[in-house]
């Protein structure tokens, strides 16, 4: 019994009628199709978020210019654009693509089962997510305009009409965010339950690929942190619509309470999206180095440690909100502490690379650039985590550049790394390497040209969330203006390079060369299924005999050793 692979008749394979278009693409309960739905929705939202970035960067660099494709940017429109850009990129791009799309696609395939444990819940989760997208987009067009109080929704900007609250827009915004949370709570419960309960026979805790661990830990972080914000969102809806005063200090409420409710979720959220990206990078680096992952268990324990620590740092977002200075001390210490586990993961990846036979293809380039760019994001975070330095740098472009150096590697580089790596498995075709590399270098160079200058601007005192610097002569100095314009031109360059990706993606999807089962000679289970895997993934579900990173094992002909190969 110990040696026989477990055989199950495929419950879907026979007697199943050919599904129609709706059933196959829109109403499917197949985890791979739901992953694709999340991914394409996320990519569409990324285009919207990118377009918003283009409009307000044009306004910053060339105040009062007629932005091509948008027109003049009015002051309130500027606020709406930056609010929507932030919210979309985090809640409707990073979350659906990194957690939902990769989680849905990878978890069943990498742990060797035929679907998520609750396929219908999975479908419902995407539909609620889609509803949240619709509500968000609807909020752009209602009377009073979209919400303009920044994605953090601080009161009183989000609750008081006299501070420019868009009555309907703000409510729809909060509803959209709340629906999105409900969708990801469902998804998260599905992910965690699947990964805990449905592993292939023989797959023990330490045989689970690290990316699955990270997605699971991220889902747990999300579930454990989002509750207070859900309660806060309800309180905020009541403040906006029923005349309560939870966050109104004139009537017995407390606006700082909202900041705590928000950031108690908001900071773990950074790690919710970071961990899956780190996991993707870890997989790619190991496969492309042809080496066993350095210190698998240490990475795993570090992930748990990061998860717990991420709950203890949230008030570093509030250092200038007038919080208790003693608490600021504590939160400074915990914030600086959390750089240790993250730095450790980076060192582990470098140690994995050391002495490996490295293949520098497109996914690997993205993975390596993740380490380089995230390093800058992490190091500048040390400045901001120290409450003393933060008081000067808070709300400047330094902060903005810092979190773009963390979120860009997470949401954009991590996604491109994952998509280029798993594209053969997702669609059964190979992507074009040359176009991939052109896209990579164009994006990565332009990205650094946008945000390195913004560090300089921030350190020079340029504040965020200012519509037009003409009112502030000291910020309108030509040398600062030129830096701003350079950053905006770099953004245009970066956005235009995405056309290369879109072309490569669409072209490879239909015309790319057919992908073999295992183009990267990888060990993990998803590469033992067909490309793309059919409904049910395998005719016979695999059995696991070893850990996921047995590369270049001495005494074997091949330099890889798939998890399901007995000998």
């Amino acid at each position: 019994m110990a040696t026989a692979p477990v055989s199950h008749p495929d419950p879907h394979g026979h007697g199943h009628h050919q599904p129609g278009f709706v059933e196959k693409y829109l109403w499917s309960t197949d985890h791979k199709m739901i992953a694709m739905q999340y991914m394409f929705t996320g990519m569409a939202m990324a285009l919207i978020g990118g377009f918003f970035a283009y409009t307000f960067r044009m306004q910053i660099a060339f105040p009062g210019v007629d932005v091509p494709g948008f027109g003049l940017v009015a002051a309130n429109e500027y606020n709406q654009l930056i609010t929507s850009h932030g919210a979309i990129m985090i809640f409707w791009v990073a979350m659906p693509v990194l957690i939902a799309a990769f989680g849905n696609f990878l978890i069943p395939l990498m742990i060797g089962c035929d679907d998520m444990v609750f396929p219908k819940l999975n479908r419902l989760s995407y539909q609620i997510f889609l509803l949240s997208v619709v509500v968000l987009i609807a909020s752009f067009f209602v009377t009073g305009g979209a919400f303009a109080g920044a994605w953090t929704m601080y009161p009183p900007l989000s609750t008081k009409a006299e501070y420019g609250l868009a009555p309907l827009g703000a409510t729809l915004f909060v509803v959209a965010v709340a629906l999105e949370f409900v969708a990801f709570l469902m998804g998260g419960i599905n992910f965690v339950t699947t990964a805990m309960n449905s592993r292939a026979p023989g797959m023990r805790m330490y045989d689970i690929p690290i990316v699955i661990w990270m997605i699971v830990v991220a889902s747990i972080l999300f579930m454990a942190s989002v509750g207070p914000l859900i309660a806060g969102a309800i309180m905020m809806l009541f403040d906006q619509n029923l005349g309560t005063a939870f966050f109104n200090p004139d009537k017995g409420g407390d606006p700082i309470l909202w900041q705590h409710l928000f950031w108690f979720f908001g900071h773990p959220e950074v790690y919710v999206v970071l961990l899956p990206a780190v996991g993707i990078v870890a997989e790619i680096i190991t496969v492309m180095s042809r080496k066993k992952m350095f210190a698998y268990r240490t990475v795993l324990y570090t992930t748990f440690g990061t998860g717990v620590l991420s709950f203890m740092v949230w008030a570093h977002h509030q250092f200038i909100a007038g919080i208790d200075p003693r608490m600021a001390n504590i939160f400074t210490i915990t914030t600086l502490l959390i750089s240790i586990p993250i730095a450790e993961m980076m060192f582990v990846f470098i140690a994995t690379l050391y002495g490996g036979s490295i293949t520098l293809n497109t996914p690997m380039l993205w993975a390596l650039s993740f380490i380089a760019t995230f390093l800058i994001g992490g190091v500048t975070g040390i400045f901001l985590g120290a409450s003393g330095a933060d008081i000067y740098l808070h709300d400047t472009y330094f902060v903005l550049a810092h979190f773009h150096y963390t979120f860009f590697p997470i949401a954009i580089i991590g996604t491109f790394a994952g998509v280029t790596f798993w594209f053969p498995k997702m669609f059964g075709r190979m992507m074009n390497e040359t176009l991939g590399k052109i896209h990579f270098w164009g994006t990565i160079i332009a990205f650094n040209c946008i945000f390195i200058p913004l560090f300089v601007l921030g350190a020079a005192g340029q504040h965020r969330r200012i519509f037009d610097y003409s009112m502030f002569p000291q910020l309108m100095r030509p040398e600062l203006r030129h830096i701003d314009q350079f950053a905006t031109v770099s953004l245009l360059l970066m956005l235009s390079f995405q056309v290369v990706f879109l072309y490569n993606f669409a072209h490879s999807l239909f015309r790319g060369p057919k992908a073999p089962k295992n183009p990267w000679d990888s060990n993990t289970l998803e590469w033992t299924a067909d490309s793309p895997p059919p409904h049910g993934n395998w005719p016979v579900l695999p059995t696991v005999y070893r850990g996921p990173y047995e590369y270049s094992t001495p005494g074997r002909d091949k330099d890889f050793w798939p998890q399901d190969e007995q000998h």
Binding site: G232, L242, A245
Partner: protein, 192 residues
């Protein structure tokens, strides 16, 4: 259910998938109520006036509703016992009794307690105590209503001996809703 994937039948974690998932639901609900009640306690401890406002809540109604929920929890767990014994009709009967408890709870709250208080002028926007009172009790009552709806969906199938494990799952959720009320009752009604 032949349509469910093999994944659903696996139990690597030592617990049936459904029960595991309900525990995760409960964990994520704890933080929702935890954030709300934590905020309430912060306000409560720094406002003497909350005690005076709380004096206007009706302890007897709160106590009766506690009794109703505790009793319905008893029915839920008796339903679980019947389901484990494979007695679908009996499990369904207990589910209906549990749902009846939920209906009585919601009926007392929405039919008598709240209209009475609103008539006396204590509305959600009167002051922060009443805001918290209606918000916390309202979110809890929404959970009660949701539970009743789910039970009414599950019970007819359980009666025909289908999906009997669901009787236990909705029971788990129902007990959690009961536990939340066990804490809401002293927080909102007794501490005056």
């Amino acid at each position: 259910m032949s349509a469910s994937p093999i994944a659903t039948t696996r139990t690597t974690a030592g617990m049936p998938t459904g029960r595991l998932a309900v525990w995760w639901v409960i964990a994520s609900e704890i933080v929702i109520f935890g954030g709300l009640l934590g905020s309430y306690i912060m306000f409560r401890l720094s406002h003497d006036a909350f005690a005076e406002h709380a004096a206007h809540t009706n302890t007897w109604i709160g106590a009766i509703n506690t009794l109703v929920l505790l009793t319905s929890s008893l029915f839920a767990v008796l339903g679980h016992k019947a389901a484990d014994a494979g007695d679908g009709p009996k499990a369904a009967k207990f589910l209906y009794l549990t749902a009846l408890g939920g209906v009585i709870f919601a009926g007392i709250k929405f039919g008598y307690e709240w209209p009475h208080e609103i008539a006396l002028g204590y509305t959600i926007s009167s002051n922060t105590f009443w805001s918290f009172y209606y918000t916390a009790a309202g979110i809890h009552a929404a959970h009660v209503v949701a539970g009743v709806i789910i039970m009414l969906i599950i019970a007819p199938r359980a009666k025909r001996n289908f999906d009997l494990h669901r009787v236990e799952l909705i029971g788990l959720y129902w007990h959690f809703v009961d536990v939340v009320w066990i804490f809401l009752f002293p927080l909102l009604y007794i501490a005056k």
